[in-house]
Structures are given as structure tokens and as C-alpha cells.
């Protein structure tokens, strides 16, 4: 194998793979449009203004969470702590304010706590090198468990005299609900952050090939830790939207399938779990589809259990498709050793 011309022939990875994944986004948009049309025709309540606004409000929480998850998944991680961080962070803020501290200050204190949780998660993953899925799974239930010990009840109500919180819940700007606006701002900021800043490019590089990024001397560990801090803070923002919408937070949401809905949005939108691909646009596309689907099924009176069944089948399908078009194993196309 060492003669020159044979050596020249031994080009690794010489087979070009066709870029199939541009289509995934378009397929999802197509399905969304079809679903939207069908629901509009079949369900007379679907197109009503009230329903559309309800749809958008529901979607804003899911979408905001998915933006945070999207960042982590682009960096080849996964953050299952998001829902736990969301409920415990907000519940903590409400609990602090119940001790007589101004709610706005309490929220800032909550944000600091949430950032510390994100820091801890990031350190466990980047420095202790625990696989993200196990680290975040364990940390999620520890956070929730600790919260349950501290808080007096499952449901905590925010004080009803906080102006900005009321605005988050029911305010509008140019007719757009505030919650949707916040989702929009978070998305646009994250989009610019990922695409335009040095940090964003390094997240893509680390997600694409962590070993190459490390070899090149990129600060891979700080990058990973920062991702988890940001995703925790975004989860906190989603929690505030929820508090505004329903004037309180039900910590039992942790036990719901919300985190899987978030994953569904991210994977369905086309952010490969193998990292380094996709962006905020994919999150928005995924959010719209899942939002339409959930809303339609609710109007159709599909039971919660059946909704979960349908969504989990879709998630499984999306994961299988993702695994096929974005194979994770770098070595698959290598020839045998000689």
C-alpha cells in the first residue's frame, strides 16, 4: 500500500454525500401549510381570531424553550433540564418575593440561580465529561426534587400587582401579543448570535467536530459551559412568559411531556442531533408545525394521552429520519485497515 500511486488512490471520504437535508425544512413547511389548510376548512373554530391568538401564545412558550434547546443541540449536546429549570427558577422567584422582596428583584435573583444551575450543568458536561443526556437527566430531577422540598405547594401564584408581568400576559404591541413578541426577540437575538458572532461560529465548529475543534485550540470547554448557561436563562424567560399568561406556575409541568415537545420541535425543524447543523430558522419552522398540530388536536377533542401518543410517534419518526440523513459515526465511510 505504500507505493506512490496506490497511496494517491487511497483518498478517504472521497465519496461525496448528497446534501439531502435542505429539503427537510421545506417538507416541514409544506406539511404545516397542508395541516393549516385542512384544519381551516374542517374546523370552523380554527380560523377564529381568538384561536389563532391562543395558538400563538401556546407556541411562544414552546418556541422559546426550543430556541435554547436548539443552541445546545447545534453544539452536539442536549439539555433535558430546561423544563425543571423553568419551573423551579420561576417558582423560586415567586417564593423569594413572598418573603417580602420586590418581585422584579426576586426575578433577578431567580435569574442568578438559574445561571448558576446552567453553569453547574455545563461544568459537569464539559469538565467532568459526563454525556449530556445523562448529566442533564439527573440534574433535572435533582433540581425539581430540591424545589419540591423548598416550595410550600405545587402551584405558586405571582403577585398580581406587577405591571410588566401583566403586560407579558395580556399586553400587545401593534396587535401582536407580548408573549409572541418575546419569543420573536429571543429568536432573532439567538439567530444573530449564532450566525454573526465569533462565539456562534465556534458553537457550530464544536458541534460539527469536537475533536477537531479541540485540536485547533478552540476554547471548547468554555463554549460548552456558556451554551448551558444561556439555555437555562432562556428556559427562565419561557417560565416568565408562562407565569404572565396564567398568573402563576404549576411545578407539576415538570412531569408533563413538555421537554419531549421541545425536542420534537428541534428535531422536526431539522437541527440534526449530530450537531453543527441548522439554526433558529429550523426552530421556528418546527414550532409552527407542532403548534398547529397541538391546537388542531385540542379542538378535535383528542385526549391528552392520545395527543402524546401521536406526538411521540412523530418524534420517533423524526429521530429515525435524522439518524439516517445525519449519521453520527464519523468512521462509517472509512476503508478497512490494511
Amino acid at each position: 500500500m505504500t507505493s506512490a500511486n496506490q497511496r494517491a488512490g487511497a483518498i478517504r471520504g472521497g465519496m461525496p454525500r448528497k446534501p439531502i437535508k435542505i429539503s427537510q425544512e421545506k417538507v416541514v413547511i409544506g406539511i404545516s401549510v397542508v395541516l393549516f389548510s385542512i384544519f381551516s376548512i374542517v374546523l370552523d373554530k380554527f380560523l377564529s381570531e381568538g384561536n389563532i391568538i391562543a395558538l400563538l401564545k401556546n407556541v411562544s412558550i414552546l418556541g422559546t424553550l426550543a430556541v435554547g434547546m436548539g443552541l445546545v443541540v447545534v453544539g452536539r449536546g442536549i439539555d433535558l433540564t430546561m423544563v425543571a429549570v423553568m419551573v423551579v427558577g420561576v417558582a423560586f422567584s415567586i417564593w423569594v418575593s413572598s418573603l417580602g422582596i420586590d418581585f422584579t428583584v426576586a426575578v433577578l435573583i431567580g435569574a442568578v440561580l438559574v445561571a448558576l444551575i446552567g453553569l453547574f450543568t455545563g461544568v459537569m458536561i464539559a469538565f467532568a465529561e459526563i454525556p449530556p443526556i445523562f448529566a442533564t437527566l439527573a440534574i433535572a430531577s435533582s433540581i425539581y426534587g430540591t424545589g419540591r422540598i423548598i416550595f410550600p405547594s405545587d402551584v405558586l401564584y405571582a403577585p398580581n400587582n406587577v405591571g410588566w408581568l401583566k403586560w407579558v400576559g395580556s399586553g400587545t404591541l401593534f396587535g401582536i401579543p407580548a408573549s409572541v413578541l418575546i419569543f420573536g426577540i429571543v429568536s432573532v437575538t439567538m439567530g444573530l448570535f449564532l450566525r454573526k458572532t465569533r462565539f456562534g461560529r465556534l458553537v457550530y465548529a464544536t458541534g460539527d467536530n469536537p475533536n477537531a475543534a479541540r485540536n485547533m485550540g478552540l476554547p471548547t470547554r468554555p463554549i460548552i459551559v456558556t451554551q448551558y448557561i444561556i439555555s437555562a436563562l432562556i428556559a427562565f424567560i419561557a417560565g416568565l412568559i408562562m407565569t404572565g399568561l396564567v398568573t402563576g406556575i404549576n411545578t407539576r409541568i415538570y412531569n408533563s411531556s413538555l421537554i419531549y415537545d421541545v425536542l420534537l420541535v428541534v428535531v422536526l425543524g431539522g437541527i440534526g442531533l449530530s450537531g453543527g447543523q441548522g439554526g433558529v430558522r429550523n426552530v421556528i419552522v418546527g414550532t409552527i408545525l407542532v403548534g398547529i398540530l397541538t391546537n388542531g388536536m385540542t379542538i378535535l377533542n383528542v385526549s391528552y394521552t392520545n395527543q402524546n401518543l401521536i406526538k411521540s410517534v412523530i418524534l420517533l419518526t423524526a429521530l429515525a429520519i435524522d439518524a439516517i440523513i445525519n449519521p453520527r459515526d464519523e468512521q462509517t465511510s472509512q476503508t478497512g485497515d490494511i
Binding site: K196, T197, R198, A212, G217
Partner: protein
Amino acid sequence: MWQADSEADMGDADMGDADMGDIVEFRNATKTFGGIAAFRGVNFTLQPGEIHALLGENGAGKSTLTKVMAGVHTLSEGKLLLNGQEVNFSSPAEALKAGIAMVFQETNLVPAMTVAQNLYLGEEKLFNRLRGLNVQARQFLAGMGFQVDPTAQVSTLGAAHKQMVEIARAVHHRARVIIFDEPTATLTPEEKRHFFNLVDRLVKAGVAIVFITHALEEALQVASRITVMRDGQIVATGRAADFTRGSIVQAMVGRNLSETLHGSAKRATRSYGEKVLSVENLSCAGLVRNSSFSVFAGQVTGMFGLVGAGRTEMAKVIAGVMKRNVFHGGEIRLFGKSVRYRVPRPAMLDGIVYVTEDRKLDGFFETMTGGENLQIGALSNGNNPLSIVSPAQAKALVDHWGTRLRLKQISDQARMIELSGGNQQKVVIAKSLIQKPKLIIFDEPTRGVDVGAIVEIHQLISDLADDGMAVVVISSYLPEIMAVSDRVLVVKRGRVVEEMMASEASEEKIMFAAVH
């Protein structure tokens, strides 16, 4: 004894029925991987009760040939005969059943199980009586004269004992052919003596042994026959007594084609510049042992060694990719200042860059375009995470490096994975050069690169040294070492064993130092 230099001389006349007792025979065998031949038109025989040494450079095809015998691979063309009957093993288990066992370089034992459990792996009864198993194993091992405790967990054993367990397992399966791939590489001299005693006893019992090794004197001492492979062909085969070390080395390296390609015409050797790096007594987890050497600016330092000699590990320790031993790890000095890196980033900021040997695994970002890859190189130096990335910068980088490295297609939106091997390698190199290194380490810079690009990459390496950079080139390919180096370091078993100037080096001398 010489089978001359080409397959033409290896006709049926002198091979066919010379020995009736061949236990294994390859007839005109070829094995290709994705169009690339590992070996081609090979005729090889093995007789009962002989030790047959198989020699050759890395990549000559020895391992693949024996793996076909052991059922790991199947032949693409030609025949494999066992006792005169054609066989076609589809798995190692099938080969083992037919009496062919292979002891791999990295042992194939289950580390968490005991010796006895490993010995009888795969034939457990439904209710396994451990005590019975241990007694049985103890008797069996004692019968072979192995002093291994059957109840010991395999992970606690040393290399020599692990090998004994593997041999015992082969004997237990009544193997009549045992293949050893570099069995002595990890053994101490005493263990080696013991190992050869064992092999002797096996041979007396009529077992045929194939013995792949890089240690020529071992082959000359213990083997009854020797076969030398080069570039996927058998270039010499005959009785061990007819070989000398010199004739083996010459058979291993003798080549013509490569010399014309690499233009081994001697050019002026560059002189020593400033001492950039000095390494003293470097040690890393048994792969690098007490190695010392220096690297100078304005010069190409070639590092030659066989695969597994520890060259890559030395480079990785220097560049912070791997960590050296905490105690007695030795000392690395960069421009006279002692350094110890835990991650590559500080090494990169200090001006040390390592260009990987496997660019697909840890060299480039495959979903990005070539331009984006280059830009990551530029971004790696910065400190402000929020600084805005400008597309103009990427374009400028592509223009600059595209011209300098003659990269034709990277300016468009082609992703890295779609580029040719040569262009990929050039992007990886450019990405590293953007980081403005003072010391650059190339690990196998032309692996999987087309011929035209090889010449260009060698030219680039040469230019870098002319510009005053300290350049290290690691290669297992002798002509490459000869073509680019001003100074050659030879690495053997985790240590730099020989240093010579290019003017006094020859392929034979380097190879001699690497295997001696």
C-alpha cells in the same frame, strides 16, 4: 531463495507441488478495499511445524494477509487452501473451528472476566460451575507450563500473561495454525524468552506459526522460513538461514517509482536556526518512554518510525492534545521556557500547531465549506466572543490561501466532504497556518492525497522552513522523510533512538535504526 521482484517469476512451476504438506496455501490471492489493493497476486505457503516470519513495512499487506487466514476478511480474488481444500471463512469463529487462531496486537480478551472464563468463553454451559471451570483451567494451564492464576481478572494481568491466555485459548481450540501479530512488541526481554520457549513447544507439537514482526533479529533467530512483503506483494521468501539483516532491509525498502516522484535528488541542507523546542525525558502512559530531542527554527525535522512507535503521541503531548505523565513526565521547553499544556488551546496561543494524521476524524469541520473552515482558524485566535464575523474576512482568506495553496474549488459553496483528499488536506493545513504558528507539526501530511497535491504540499513544507518556521514532519513513508527533511529523528518504541542529518541518511540506515 529470491522470488525476485515481480509476480511474473512466481509461476506455478516452483510453487505448486514443492511441498505436499502445506497446511495453508494462498494461490494468486488478492484483497482489495474499495478498489485499493491491500495485496495482489500473492502466493504463500505454510507448513506444519514451522515458524514462518512475515516481514515488511507498515502497510505492506502483512496484517491483511493474515487476517484473511483468520477469517476477519475474505479474499477478493484467488484461493485460500486449508490442507489442500479450498475454504472461505466468513467469520473468525469459523476459522477457529477449522483450526486457525490469531493472536492480535491488542489482545482480544474480555478484561472484566477471569482467566478461566476467558479461556472457555463461548462454550459456557447453561449452569456454569465456576469452581469446576477454575479447576479445569488450572489443569490445562499447568499442562502447558503457564504460570497464570485462572481466577485472576484479565485486566489485572500484564501484557505477557495476557498473551499466554490468548495462546492457551488457541491451544484449547486445538488450533493447528496460530498467527501472532507483533507478539513481542510489548514484552520485556525475559518475557520474550519465555514466549519463544512456548512457541518452540507448540512447533514441536506440529503447530504452524505465522509470526509478524518488526524485529528482524528475532525473525532471523527463531523463524525457519521468512517472507518479505512490500507494497502488497511478496518480494522475497526462503529459508531463514539464507537471509541476512541487510538482505531483508533491502527487500523491505527497495523501490524505484517513489524516488522519481519524490525527487530524492539532494538539495542543500538548511542549517540550524534558533532552538525552538527541547524535549527531555518525555514519558506518556507507556507509549512515549523517556524520549529526548530538539527542534530548530528554519529547518524541517523528519520523524520516522513504524506505526505504534509513539511518534504521534509525542507530537500530541507537545501540542497539548494529550497529557504527559504527571510524575516523571519529563520536561518540554519552548524557547527555553518550560511548558505543560493540559488542552491544545494554550499551546496554540504559544504558537504550536499540530496537523492531524486523520483529517476526517479530528481535522476539519465536514458540514462547513472550505472558506468557513479557514475562518474558524482565524477566529480561534480572538478573545472577544461577541465580535462580529464578517463574510468579507472569509472571502479574503479564501482568496489569499486559494492562490497560495492552489486551491481551485473552495471559493464556491462546496462543503468540505465534497472536496478531494488533496484539497481537504490543503484546507486543514491553511487553517493551521492562519493561526500563525512558530512550530508546526505535520502528522502524515500526504496520507490519502493525490500525487499532484503531494508535490505541492512538500513544496509548501519546504517554503515554511525557508521562512524560518520550525517544522516537524512525521511520516511512516521513507521517501517522504527523505524528500522533505533536513534532519531525521528515528523513533522506536516510544523513544527517539537515532538522529542524523539528511546528508548522511539513507533509507536503509533509517529503516535499520527503526527496526533494530
